[in-house]
Amino acid sequence: MLEKALQGSPKYWGWLAFLGLIIAAGGGVYMTQLQDGLQITGMNRDVSWGFYIAQFTYLVGVAASGVMVVLPYYFHHYKKYKKMVIMGEFMAIGAVVMCLGFIVVDIGQPQRMLNVMLHPTPNSILFWDMVVLNGYLFLNVIVGWMSLQSERTRIDPPKWLKYVIYTSIVWAFSIHTVTAFLYQGLPARHYWLTAILAARFLASAFCSGPAILLLVIMLVQKLTKFNPGEDAYKTLAKTITYAMCVNVFFFLLEVFTAAYSSIPGHMHSIAYLFVGSHGHTGMVPWMWSAAFMAILSLCLLIPPALRDNMKLLPWSLAILVAATWIDKGLGLLIGGFTPNMFEGVTEYWPTGKELMVSLAVYATGALVLTLLFKVATGIREETDNL
């Protein structure tokens, strides 16, 4: 089936070349990171994880979110997702590839990375995160590839595949739960030390991930004859809307608990993010933009007339993605490390080099996604099933 990825228009090849260029440029910067160490980033003794790990966290959510299409299709036989399911599975593969990429670029001694497997440590959540992420990648490769193959040959897939699919659905929840556990089990990080963090992660994943999926599918629909059907769009937009409501609600629960209890430790991170602390206000404009965009996206998604307007929908989704990205791709990490362990504030901001390496990881994910979607649309074209 891979041969489908080798035939394409000049536009397709141009896109691949463009991604290749970004990967090469970012790869070059990564070489300097290997040489000089993580000092090329903005990270420091107090904010010891930064943009890389934040992107990792955000993308685990994107990977898990494929389940919002897969679950209704397989558990509830919602046939209108028939064409979209494979896209959800393939996007999960692309997202997990990016997750692994962000972990690799964040590690100080990547050549020792296999120590995680050579000295398996079940008391470390990072060990389990490695297990669930690789497992999820494996499950989605099997499920995606075999379903597509059976479509092509018009032979039903083997019966056991069904059980692999069921496993992958439950597994999707596990990857984001375990990723939340990375944070929420740390004793002195108040912003993370909250039982609702895993639930917040899932809620934000299940709105932002499908939103990205829909945006990508809209693009694919423009470029090829692929059409998942308007009903599929509308249903998934509904899922996104509900998940975003829950996401905002969960965040407000955090704000209430911190503000009403008035316990300094609980308030400090949130105060730093939204009003600044000790004169450090770097995050304030970002967080208020996120809050504004979150509300705006809900205003554009909750009324059915606006949500079902296919001209407006991509904009609403883009606003939602921006809001959730700032919350999880910036605020979560920086807020968690602020204040530091001595109640002081050290500000962090990613450097150009850090962003360049991150861009290369994103481009790698886009490349994987492009190739997989090309295969999927190619097979569908061949079987007249676009």
Binding site: G37, L38, R45, G108, Q109, N115, R189
Partner: protein, 258 residues
């Protein structure tokens, strides 16, 4: 056919059992785990069930007094001198509010308000850093020391996120350029690994007290917390002491006399 299959399975089973037994026997011979040969410590090494420290902040309470202790520690361990916010430190001075964040007091006694406290790794009995490390590069020794294997560390910095005491530093770059006078007796780290105070495990093995304790002129006491007759237990019996962030349940092994 059936017979040979059964024999084959028997063979596999017995071999697996044999391998397992060999492993268990090997572990016992090596004295409870680990890899490779275990060297006997020298005879004059200091031993304890749980090493601990008592810092008398009535005697040691200024940045000027703590600086030479930090210098003694950092020079013997090749800790590089790098500017904040990427500074490397195993021992340093901090204010009361910064050290004992849970004991915030807006009407603190003038003298204590101006005291500085010597901070270092607490060698917790229940260390979050050890709990999170994905490679066992940081681990708990039988004598209570929370130890680092800087050759196994992959530099994921999970321990830095987990440590409630900010005791860990990361080599963002190559440390060598920032060590003025390298001590050839102690290994130099490479970029990309985390490091911290080790209670001078290498000096204990040679029968010496930790470098900071030696330089402190009696303001820092070091000894076995499990031994009723040790100087640290005596100091703890006779003085009011506090520990950093006790509500987290980490059980620090460093106590401060106020």
């Amino acid at each position: 056919m059936k017979q040979s299959r059964r024999n084959f399975l028997k063979f596999v089973g017995i071999s697996a059992l044999g391998l397992g037994l060999a492993k268990v026997a090997g572990v016992e011979a090596a004295g409870g785990g680990g890899h490779g040969p275990v060297m006997e410590p020298p005879h004059d090494a200091l031993h304890a069930k749980r090493w601990g420290m008592v810092i008398d902040t009535r005697k040691l309470n200024t940045a000027e007094a703590i600086a030479p202790l930090a210098e003694a520690c950092h020079s013997v361990h090749n800790v590089p001198t790098i500017a904040a916010p990427r500074e490397m430190k195993w021992l340093w001075a901090e204010s009361f509010d910064g050290s004992f964040t849970e004991m915030e007091n807006d009407r603190l006694n003038d003298e204590i308000e101006h005291r500085k406290f010597a901070l270092l790794c607490n060698h917790c009995q229940n260390p979050p850093c050890v709990r999170v490390c994905p490679t066992k590069a940081t681990f708990k020794r039988a004598d209570g020391i929370t130890m680092m294997d800087m050759h196994r560390c992959i530099g994921c910095r999970y321990c830095m996120a987990a440590c409630p005491y900010g005791a860990r530093s990361f080599n963002f770059g190559d440390p060598q350029k920032f060590v003025a006078k390298p001590n050839p007796e102690y290994p130099m780290r490479m970029r990309g690994v985390v490091e911290k105070c080790t209670f001078c495990s290498e000096r204990l093995e040679a029968g010496k007290q930790p470098a900071c304790v030696e330089a402190s002129q009696g303001a820092m006491l070091f000894g076995d917390l499990e031994d009723k007759n040790s100087p640290v237990r005596k100091a703890l019996r006779e003085n009011f002491t506090i520990r950093r962030k006790p509500s987290l349940g980490t059980q620090p092994s460093v106590y401060y006399i106020i």
